[in-house]
């Protein structure tokens, strides 16, 4: 069953029956996930080159991995294009089957004499092209608003002045880690839906913060767990891999992630029965450009999805940044794969840590850092 179907099944039949009758719940999310990117092995040229600097369609990719491996990050920007064209768009173009222009320079060595190359590559011409995202599928996320007198352009979208609107980005009750709040079934090795292909969870995601405050049902009320994921870009579908542009912020990758959750017992059934009304988050004031923004209010995803929330006596219209339409589609596709026997659930080979402090970056001396 999809997460939506399971929640209504529990409403009608109760947790006990759901635990007995349902094997797997498919969850999904589709949103802007900035900490994404792809590594690509371009193959060797004749004469060969040890690439020191790489550009794909004008977007700088990371070199420094042997000779012809590169990593293109979703938020890397083509500096000539006013923040409207970035690594995420290059990744989408590749998934669409398009050719992209590869330029690279190197310093030339006895074994790699070539110093520059300017050519075209596509998913057909390269060896490996692997999406490897170090932080996806946040277990809950903040909601954003703006109390200042000017419009703000942020990674949380366009925030109108004087609490003109509020945006949120989690898929809420259908989102993967919301349904397995203590990471009982999701861990290293879990097979997942990634960008329309099958991929894997490869590690805890960066900024993994299991210690975030939780409601009594176990669901975090703030950004908490995250997933590092990996999958074959060559198998992906542009419907679930989308280059996005946030004005005056830059690019990000819209990506569909789905995780199947086995209903091992009544506890798991209870976790997966969670609804938008039971998932809480905080509305932060993004007019404070600091890492500790003030919280204006705690709201549920049912509140956020109702179209407006009340803040300081004002009715504030709300917008989602993640697509619930596509999140449900991810869950549907994953369910159909499982039913057809095309997707086998994989038990984690290692669980996530439950105690991981979230550290900050401060300006410190060498001695303070050790």
């Amino acid at each position: 069953m999809t997460a939506d179907e399971f929640k209504s099944f529990v409403r009608s039949n109760g947790v006990k029956k759901a635990a007995q009758e349902v094997d797997v719940v498919t969850t999904g999310t589709f949103g802007a996930m900035c900490s994404s990117g792809a590594y690509i092995n371009f193959g060797h040229s004749e004469p060969p080159i040890k690439m020191q600097k790489i550009w794909l369609d004008g977007v700088p990719a990371q070199a420094g991995l042997a000779a012809v491996d590169g990593y293109i990050g979703a938020t890397a920007l083509d500096e000539t294009n006013n923040m409207t064209h970035g690594g995420a768009h290059v990744i989408e173009d590749l998934v669409r089957g398009k050719a992209v222009r590869l330029r690279a320079t190197g310093y030339g060595t006895d074994c790699y004499p070539r110093k520059e190359i300017d050519t075209w590559v596509s998913l057909q011409t390269v060896n490996q092209a692997v999406l490897m995202n170090v932080r996806n599928a946040y277990q809950n996320y903040a909601a954003a608003t703006n109390s200042s007198s000017k419009t703000l352009y942020t990674y949380m979208g366009k925030l109108l002045p004087e609490l003109g609107n509020a945006t949120f980005s989690s898929a809420g009750a259908v989102s993967p880690l919301i349904n397995d709040p203590y990471y009982r079934t999701i861990g290293v090795g879990t097979r997942i839906f990634l960008g329309g292909a099958q991929g894997h969870v490869i590690w805890e995601g960066t900024q993994f913060n299991p210690g975030a405050p939780r409601t009594p049902n176990g669901v975090p009320k703030r950004p908490a767990g995250t997933l590092a994921v990996l999958g074959d870009l060559k198998q992906m579908n542009p419907e679930f891999v989308k280059g996005l542009t946030f004005t005056r912020y830059g690019s990000s990758l819209g990506i569909g992630v789905g995780v199947p959750i086995p209903i091992l017992d009544e506890d798991m059934a209870r976790f997966c029965a969670v609804t938008d009304a039971e998932v809480m988050t905080a509305v932060f004031d993004y007019s404070h450009a600091t890492r500790t923004r003030p919280v204006l209010k705690e709201v549920s995803y049912a509140d956020l999805r109702s179209g407006e929330i009340e803040i300081k006596g004002k009715q504030v219209p709300t917008s989602s940044l993640s697509s619930i339409y596509k999140a449900r589609k991810v869950a549907e596709v994953l369910k159909s794969w499982i039913l057809k026997g095309e997707f086998a659930l994989q038990e984690p080979v290692q669980s996530f840590p439950r105690d991981r402090p979230l550290r900050t970056l401060d300006v410190r001396t060498e001695r303070e850092a050790t």
Binding site: A32, G254, I324
Partner: protein, 133 residues
């Protein structure tokens, strides 16, 4: 009847009292939804209410005075292929022309309600909205 039109005019035409004439000579109710003027001319979005004949007469008058008249439907276009139905546009649209259906999760665009203000254009992450005027 009611209709919404997008007017574009040259600097010469912008010196004429066209809205006054629409009201006084063509007996129309004119609601100015948006107006802007700069060195290359002006742009106005009007809602015209009145008898069908008067609306036709008013539009003929505008055209005779070198004012470009286009239906509002040609103001903003959505690329349905590019739209991911996230809903970012929903909370910033001042006329609620963009709404999300809670059942399907899809964002619908009601062109009749759009006043071509353009606030959605740079807010759309997949860049699905395009302003044509």
């Amino acid at each position: 009847m009611k209709t919404k039109v997008v007017l574009t005019f040259s600097p010469e035409a912008s010196n004429q009292p066209i809205t006054h004439n629409l009201i006084a000579k063509h007996h129309l109710l004119v609601n100015i939804l948006r107006a802007e003027i700069d060195e290359v001319g002006g742009k106005m979005v009007l809602e015209l209410s009145g008898k069908a004949d008067d609306i036709r007469g008013g539009i003929d008058y505008l055209k005779a005075n070198r004012v470009g008249v286009r239906p509002i439907k040609e103001g903003v276009r959505r690329d349905d292929e590019a739209c991911t139905h996230c809903g970012m546009c929903v909370s910033i649209c001042p006329t609620k022309a963009l709404t999300i259906d809670p059942r399907t999760g899809k964002v619908s665009f009601n062109e009749e309600k759009c006043v071509a203000c353009g606030v959605c254009i740079d807010a759309c992450p997949p860049r699905a909205m395009e302003i044509l005027i």
